[in-house]
């Protein structure tokens, strides 16, 4: 019953996503693109969270992918479409190096080092100004991918979301699910049952960071320029985190719910409060952690469960 309902909702949402470009104008499409971008980031953040590791470095790997993409076009002469997978590979490689170093001490240490990543990458981009354009940023001479066609950019963002969704569902169905859940529940029990914790965590960190880099590439190619302040913006850490927490963590459905709710709300908030609208996300994070750590999806499932019991 419940599963059928979920399938119907998923099909409807998928159908809506496919027909949207035919129905909506440029502005709704842009809003939809933003929502899809943040949704994909929220899903990737949650994928790592399923192992019990919290990353505050989404903006860092996202921004790194953005710069890899635009510099790939400008300095290496890549075609714009090819620079996007290159961005994914670059962020994944960076995550491999960093993860190899910092995943040895997990928990708190990992989280706090990732908190510094966006700032560190930004300083590096600032300082290599001959290569990266420095604080002023850099503009792709060829301009926006697909000549800026609204539906083209929409499809590109949808592809980014599909990659994140696909990876997340694959994680739920494959051995990753068991390994990550075991690590989250009890590391000692997991390692004594033969789970190689370090390798699973490293693989998860690399995969999620690669997708974040891919999304960064899509983002930067959709605007045609990058500045350190725009691509390493705290928004890219904060919004996905708030979305996944509000919707419900440790699964694919929660982040989707949270992203739809907060994504639409954030477009409205940005117009209402151009400065400091992020305070809302800070407060959402505090309230969710204190009062409903399983998020809205967890709450809904809790409410649905007694009803199911009666039906049986």
């Amino acid at each position: 019953m419940n599963r059928n309902l979920a399938r119907v909702v998923a099909t409807l949402l998928g159908a809506l996503a496919v027909v949207l470009p035919a129905l909506a104008g440029a502005y709704p499409l842009q809003v939809a693109r933003n929502v899809m971008l943040y949704m994909a980031l929220a899903i990737t953040w949650d994928m790592l969270l399923r192992s019990g590791q919290i990353s505050f470095g989404i903006a860092g790997l996202f921004g790194l992918g953005a710069y890899a993409s635009i510099l790939g076009v400008i300095r290496a002469g890549m075609p714009a479409w090819a620079s996007i997978p290159f961005a994914a590979a670059f962020s994944a490689l960076a995550a491999l190096l960093i993860g190899y170093l910092i995943l040895r001490l997990r928990g708190m240490y990992f989280s706090i080092v990732t908190l510094a990543l966006a700032e560190i990458f930004r300083i590096v981009i600032h300082n290599l100004h001959d290569f990266t354009g420095g604080p002023e940023g850099i503009v792709a001479p060829a301009g926006v991918i697909f000549g800026g066609s609204a539906s083209g950019l929409y499809w590109l963002a949808l592809v980014g979301l599909a990659v994140a969704l696909g990876a997340s569902i694959w994680f739920e169905k494959s051995k990753f699910h068991f390994a990550l859940t075991a690590i989250r529940d009890n590391e000692i029990a997991a390692s004594s049952s033969g789970v190689d914790i370090f390798r699973w965590l490293l693989a998860t960190f690399v995969i999620t960071s690669g997708i974040q880099g891919l999304l960064g590439g899509i983002f930067v190619q959709s605007y045609g320029f990058a500045t350190p302040d725009s691509v390493f913006s705290a928004d890219f850490t904060l919004l996905p985190l708030a979305m996944a927490l509000l919707g419900g963590i440790h699964g694919t459905v929660g982040p989707i719910m949270g992203a739809v709710l907060l994504g639409v709300a954030s477009e409205w908030l940005k117009l209402q409060m151009p400065y400091g609208h992020l305070v809302v996300y800070g407060i959402i994070i505090i309230i969710v952690i204190l009062f409903m750590p399983r998020g809205l999806y967890g709450l809904a499932r809790k409410m649905a469960r007694p009803a199911e019991g009666r039906a049986e």
């Binding site: 910092i102 989280s111 706090i112 908190l115 590096v124 300082n127 400065y275 800070g282 959402i284």
Partner: protein, 307 residues
């Protein structure tokens, strides 16, 4: 024995490095020590909270930022000198921190460690952005004559005002040492830090100790907020690098090792100033702490594997 020998070698090496830098560029040592004082005085309260309440407060620097803003507007309204505001700022920040602790962090004490991290991250964002809404991202600075005080030695001029940070850092470290070993509350706090369950069994009100220690740490941060304002300009995100650097210093020193924070700060402060001493490397000084924390994590993981 091996530990002792290694410590001696380390001390000798750092003394040699210091003398070399002193001969080459005395101002680097002068600035480095002052910078270290600022870092240490901000990191010590974080070390206290982490050591006893076992919480990484990611809103640490943000509380200092709020204290600095409060002091700035109080000083501008009354024409008071921020030095006079050090004690009031400490009291107000402690009260504010205690309320925030009761309302939020206390409820998450039993939650998994990572929930606490997300919670204090949320508090940090809420504080920064609330200040951003109220006062915009404009920078504020007080113009004070005495902060440009300096001493001339030979041909060089050495600014000396920031030694007040060094004095506070030493005061904090020594004061906390006395507090934790000589007073009843301090001993209770130390016991709670070592084993909350055992402390509760012998009749210590653990939750009250947590609240008190958090408020005490915030009083120290509040005093630093007022002091910080004498020298630096303030803006909403001014606190966040200090949160990161404080954690780095606490991690380098080892949790529960407050005097160690002084040494770690010296290392960070002087290394940053060495990089700032060259035109080409100046802009890289801000990533020293990151390199330091990665080195520490690697060092720890190697040590763990050996044992």
């Amino acid at each position: 024995m091996a530990m002792k020998r290694r410590a001696t070698i380390l001390a000798a090496l750092s003394a040699a490095a210091t003398i070399l830098i002193l001969l080459w560029k005395p101002s680097v040592i002068n600035n480095g020590i002052q910078q270290a004082g600022l870092y240490a005085a901000i990191a010590i309260p974080m070390g206290l909270v982490l050591g006893i309440v076992h919480i990484v407060n990611l809103a640490h620097g943000e509380f200092m930022m709020v204290a600095a803003y409060a002091t700035y507007f109080a000083c501008r309204a009354t024409g008071m000198d921020p030095l006079l505001a050090v004690l009031p700022s400490a009291a107000v920040t402690a009260a504010f921190g205690w309320v925030v602790f009761k309302l939020t962090i206390k409820r998450a004490l039993k939650a998994p460690e990572l929930n606490q991290l997300i919670l204090t991250f949320g508090i940090a964002i809420a504080l920064t952005q609330a200040v951003n809404i109220l006062f915009t991202s404009q920078t504020f600075k007080l113009q004070l004559d005495y902060v440009s005080a300096s001493i001339d030695i030979g041909e060089d001029t050495f600014p000396v005002w920031s030694y007040v940070f060094v004095a506070f850092a030493i005061l904090y470290a020594a004061g906390l040492k006395l507090f934790l070993t000589r007073t009843t509350i301090g001993k209770a706090a130390l016991a709670v830090g070592q084993n909350p369950k055992g402390a509760a069994i012998v009749g210590i009100d653990v939750n009250r100790v947590y609240g008190l220690v958090f408020a005490l740490a915030l009083a120290l941060v509040g005093a630093m907020g007022a002091l910080f304002l004498t020298k630096q300009s303030i803006f909403p995100s001014v606190g966040s690098p200090y949160t990161m650097k404080s954690f780095c210093l606490v991690a380098v020193a080892g949790i529960g090792n407050i005097p160690g924070i002084l040494g770690a700060s010296l290392l960070l402060g002087i290394s940053e100033q060495v990089l700032r001493g060259f035109r080409d490397t100046r802009a890289w000084a801000d990533i020293v702490f990151f390199v330091l924390i990665i080195a520490v994590i690697l060092g720890r993981s190697i040590k763990w594997r050996k044992s």
